[in-house]
């Protein structure tokens, strides 16, 4: 075994020189690998960016990663299925990490009317400070102002809704819903702010009013429809939401976002399996080129291999040398491909404007800017796939090279 070390060094030198003996072929192969790796990483980072954006957007409209409701609320979101605002142990839990923001809000279906139109909406009674901690961005207010406190007597509606209602900032509209006894609860209210959202559907759906103002209108005292809670990272929710459930108690329903919005979760899972499939497909096409390069390299050198064997090189070393050639080629390709991918994606991380496709994207619940997200796991995945499959593909030519009969190989012309 002692003579293995210098042998390995010689094999590496041989492999390296052999590679560059036909530098044109090697370069073409290298470029193919680089482009393949680059495409795999770019594609999966675009996909990941799309899905992340969808999940984050979905969580913003949910909102929060964990929600507490009356057990019947999700089946019948009426004001009759209200709960008390958080207090005691739950309040204590909510005000400590990992919870970074929470809001106790009224959320009931309602009608909004202007002089010319009526629309069905989701009426949200909120405390503006809590809502901001949950992720509502006050800079989304394009006209007027956001609510100033839970007792604010104004209404904040979406830009698209204002357009549909043919109303404006400063006009009065009527909101109408039902109180817990199913009586009509309505009042006139002035539009004090207009917000814009990433999705038109959100702009048309959500209408914000002061929590206390709406509690009074709906005849409920210090009751809310839901408590929405957010931590820092939607991937970490599983680790802390059982604590919230414990603090809430069994008589209320505590649900994480994976259950609240099964679509989002399955989208995330689908993306991961998609990435693997795409990576494999891209590599399969690449592998034909790789096998071809190596087979050709072996064929060209039949006499040479025969000579080496005749001089006493073991078949195993011949195989090792051919494999080494492919590893060097793959390694170089992976390195350059990864670097190229990083160099392409990093400048794009501020977002790619794809508003030309906005209509179609909106149907899938996505905004009109795509934020590619470069993740180490994607890079590792494509590197591992390329290395493993590349070695598998080069096994055949390597094995054939090692099986030559030295006499027949030398006799070849």
């Amino acid at each position: 075994m002692a003579d293995h070390q210098p042998a390995a060094g010689i094999l590496f030198t041989l492999a390296w020189r052999n590679l560059w003996r036909n530098h044109r072929r090697t370069l073409i192969m290298l470029i193919a690998i680089v482009i393949g790796v680059w495409a795999m990483i770019l594609f999966s980072s675009l996909m990941a960016g799309m899905v992340d954006e969808m999940v984050r957007g979905g969580l913003r409209t949910l909102p929060g990663e964990v929600q507490i409701h009356h057990p019947d609320y999700r089946d019948d979101p009426s004001i009759a299925n209200s709960i008390d605002a958080p207090q005691g142990a739950l309040l204590e839990r909510l005000n400590n990490p990992p919870v970074t923001g929470w809001a106790a809000r009224i959320k009931v279906p309602a009608m909004i009317s202007s002089e010319r139109a009526n629309r069905g909406i989701q009426l949200l009674g909120v405390d503006p400070a809590q809502e901001v901690s949950l992720g509502f961005d006050p800079t989304n207010i394009v006209e007027g102002r956001f609510l100033e406190g839970p007792d604010d007597k104004g209404l904040v509606i979406g830009r698209k809704l204002a357009e549909r209602l043919e109303t404006r900032l400063g006009k009065r509209v009527v909101i109408m819903s039902q109180d817990p006894d199913n009586n009509v609860a309505d009042r006139g209210i002035r539009v004090v702010g207009i917000y814009q959202a990433r999705l038109q559907a959100t702009e048309e759906l959500n209408v914000y009013g002061g929590l206390e103002t709406l509690q009074k209108m709906l005849n409920v005292d210090n009751q809310v429809s839901e408590i929405a809670i957010t931590g820092d990272d939607f991937r970490q929710v599983a680790s802390w939401w059982p604590q919230i459930q414990q603090a809430t108690g069994p008589e209320l329903e505590t649900v994480p976002w994976m259950e609240l919005d099964g679509y989002l979760e399955s989208m995330m899972k689908m993306q991961t399996s998609f990435n693997v499939i795409i990576t494999v497909v891209i590599f399969l096409t690449l592998s034909f080129g790789l096998v071809n390069t190596l087979v050709m390299a072996v064929f060209e050198r039949v006499r040479e291999i025969g000579l080496m064997m005749a001089l006493g090189m073991r078949p195993g070393w011949i195989m090792y040398q051919v494999l080494l050639e492919s590893i060097i080629l793959l390694g170089l390709g992976l390195l350059l491909g990864n670097l190229l991918a990083v160099a392409t994606i990093l400048p794009l991380e501020d977002g790619i404007d794809i508003s030309a496709l906005a209509k179609g994207l909106e149907m899938a619940g996505m905004g009109s800017t795509l934020y590619p997200s470069l993740r180490l796991s994607d890079m590792v995945l494509s590197t591992v796939v390329v290395l493993v499959l590349g070695l598998l593909a080069s096994l055949l030519p390597a094995w054939r090279a090692s099986r030559y009969n030295p006499i027949q190989a030398l006799a070849r012309t």
């Binding site: 279906p109 309602a110 009608m111 009317s113 202007s114 002089e115 010319r116 009526n118 069905g120 007597k153 006009k171 009065r172 509209v173 009527v174 109408m176 819903s177 039902q178 199913n182 009586n183 009509v184 609860a185 309505d186 009042r187 006139g188 209210i189 002035r190």
Partner: protein, 248 residues
């Protein structure tokens, strides 16, 4: 001299006060006049659209501000459909499905029986008195009658979308016109009386039309065929069971 001027000023204010009655009072009187303490009427509702027109006959009972019952008698297709209003709540009954349905708040601003009137127009008419600020704009003379024009501006939290409503009430308390203005001062729709006749001893508006001002050929007309006022009504008239199974 000063004394005389003082008396004249006092007289002037007194006479102008006599000439400008309390607008709230006027509206209430107009409504009471239209409804009586109790009333029973037969009417036809004509719904007109650019390419079609249809009419419906109905009977209506009212008691005070808060109770009313309407039942469709013709055409046969709609006969038996009914609406019952108690306070601010409204129920409707359709014989075809044999169900009494409480009209949910989400449907209150939808059209009532396909007309230009909304469920809210039907069920809320008397809230106007305390949810608005009323001012007398002018007093008009003409056709042997005096007409008061009253402007009603809804209170800030009133569940009313209009910027203002303008009423024209004749001196015999017949409501001649009710205009609905948006908050930009554009007239949106008008409820106008086209004919006044004497029915059961009092002058009442017998043809009234709700006209959408932005679409001149879309309107709904109510024609009163007969009316009785201050009559004895059975005690079970305004009940859900009577809405479903007519007993009168």
């Amino acid at each position: 001299m000063k004394y005389i001027i003082g008396i004249m000023l006092a007289l002037l204010t007194a006479s102008s006060m006599a000439a400008s009655p309390d607008p709230v009072d006027l509206i209430r009187k107009a409504m009471d006049h239209w409804r009586g303490v109790t009333s029973y009427g037969e009417m036809t509702m004509v719904i007109h659209r650019p390419d079609w027109e249809r009419s419906m006959s109905m009977e209506a009972w009212t008691e005070g501000d808060k109770l009313s019952l309407v039942r469709v008698t013709a055409p046969a297709r709609d006969a038996g459909n009914g609406s019952l209003v108690m306070d601010d709540n409204m129920w409707s009954y359709a014989p075809k499905i044999n169900r009494v349905i409480k009209v949910p708040s989400s449907m209150m601003s939808q059209s009532w029986m396909g007309s230009d009137l909304s469920n809210k127009d039907i069920s809320k008419s008397t809230d106007i008195i305390d949810q608005y600020t009323h001012t007398l704009l002018e007093t008009r003379e003409g056709q042997g009658h005096q007409t008061w024009v009253i402007q009603s501006i809804p209170n800030e939290d009133a569940a009313v979308v209009w910027g203002k409503e303008v009423w024209s009430i004749r001196d015999d308390y017949v409501l001649m016109e009710q205009q609905f203005w948006d908050q930009d001062g554009v007239l949106v729709k008008t409820f106008r009386t086209h004919e006044v006749r004497e029915l059961d001893g009092r002058m009442v508006a017998t043809v009234m039309r709700m006209q959408d001002e932005e679409k001149p050929d879309e309107w709904t007309e109510m024609r009163v065929d007969s009316s009785k006022f201050d009559i004895e009504l059975p005690i079970n008239l305004f009940t859900l069971s009577n809405l479903r199974n007519p007993r009168q």
